[in-house]
Symmetry: C2
Subunit: 278 residues, 2 copies
């Protein structure tokens, strides 16, 4: 594991840019969103991995305050949206401050799928799914390489959240069930339960049966995405509700006005509100 | 009117930063949100004014495509949220591309209030409201200085949207009623109708009576902000609805789960969806 030296170069340029900008400002601005892309070589995945990092403005009365960390899958899609929510709402003391790490995909069909399958939701063969089933390895990258990197370089509390959408949703649930010690809270927006003949519903049933408690906060949701999609979410919600797991605080929300791609905008806000509520 | 030369300096540094970053990227990233602060000297207001500008990624098959412009009040609060919505949703072809200009406040109590008053919503005297009533002058700055600046420097269509929250909401409605040629569409999130003994409700009633058509799109909303606030919105909605103005496409939405400060997150998304729907 090594930090790409370019990240340092960009950091210096960024500081230069930011300090020059500050001079021109007559009002104190709090809502700078980082666009920097950091790179870390992963031995586990045998590739360079890239991610965004957003660190909220420091309160000058509490410098270097340790902050929780939100690890966000599909970072290239949703990082700026979540970071701007956290910036705005923490500035007005509605949310606590949270560091956001937005992991950028190389092959989401490989990294975010918990099992191997080459079939799409309608049963068709899809050759781009050949590398699927790499989620276990990807979670190992997060646990043994990315998390230590973040914890060395930023002042963090032990509270960690994992968030994902679609394939990222089943990856998030897979992580909760198979590595329950990695995170304190989970967000699964429109998890793709159709994957591999409902692989994740079956795994949920099997794993939940062996758990007596799950001290987590967990938000899951779906939109207006077709009957099969919603039916799967209702099945999942029944599994969770019927198990009555000690310590599990969960919320299921359906958004009938949202499509698969618009839902993250409202669902991530509700999810953060639920998870960060105290 | 002049462009602060620092803006050019930052622009060059920014390009340098971005081009270096690009080299390290193995995936094409579309969601860069500008943090640059531009400055323009306003003769109308006799002060330097600052604003953010977000220009969506250019489609390489249609370079220099002319884009509509959204002028956003309280830019320091909501610019990054709206820009990230537009980036994400236009990337997935759900929204059209729109340039966002986020105007940063110096004294919002002066610039965004349509009349002079020194009383808060509960009737108390507030000395910080002494300069209030500057909205007319502020709109002149937008019309005669900011808009020409944007139109010279960016490739724009003639379609323009004005958006504001709270005092920015009454400023938006004031603009629609008193300068109906400036914009094509308006967003007023939680407009502060309580201002100056319902000044804006009275103005709406008077102005609407003289209008036979208003070819605009108009979104307004409120949250869970107390009975007086909601009653005012209902009165305003009745005025609009009863007038049956030709060409006016409007939507009123109430968000019972949102407070005054959380509402912009969901309301701006719904508003953009309504206004940009085709």
């Amino acid at each position: 594991m090594s930090i790409n030296v370019n990240a340092i170069k960009y950091g210096i340029l960024f500081l230069l840019l930011f300090s020059l900008q500050s001079k021109a400002q007559s009002v104190k601005l709090f809502n700078h969103i980082s666009n920097e892309v950091y790179t870390l070589h992963s031995k586990v995945l045998n590739q360079d991995r890239q991610f965004y990092i957003h660190v909220p403005e420091q309160d000058s009365t509490k410098p270097n305050k340790a902050l929780p960390v939100l690890y966000l899958l599909d970072g290239e899609n949703h990082f700026h949206i979540l970071s701007s929510y956290i910036n705005y709402l923490s500035h007005f003391k509605i949310f606590p401050q949270v560091i956001v790490v937005g992991i950028i995909n190389i092959d989401r069909k490989k990294d975010l799928t918990p099992s191997h399958s080459t079939k799409t939701y309608d049963g068709k063969e899809d050759t781009t799914l050949k590398p699927s089933g790499g989620n276990e390895q990807f979670l190992q990258f997060i646990e043994t390489e990315l998390m230590p990197h973040i914890e060395i370089n930023y002042k963090t509390t032990s509270y960690k959240i994992l968030a994902g959408h679609s394939f990222g949703g089943i990856a998030t649930i897979n992580c909760m069930l198979t590595h329950p010690d990695m995170f304190n809270a989970y967000i699964a927006v429109s998890p793709s339960f159709w994957w591999d003949n409902n692989y994740m519903l079956k795994l949920t049933e099997a794993k939940l049966a062996k758990l007596s408690s799950l001290k987590k906060r967990f938000f899951y949701s779906d939109g207006n995405e077709g009957t099969f999609f919603h039916t799967d979410l209702l099945k999942f919600d029944s599994l969770i509700t019927n198990r009555k797991l000690k310590g599990l605080e969960y919320m299921y929300k359906n958004y009938p006005e949202e499509t698969h791609m618009t839902e993250p905008i409202v669902a991530y806000f509700d999810a953060l509100r639920f998870i960060l509520r105290d």
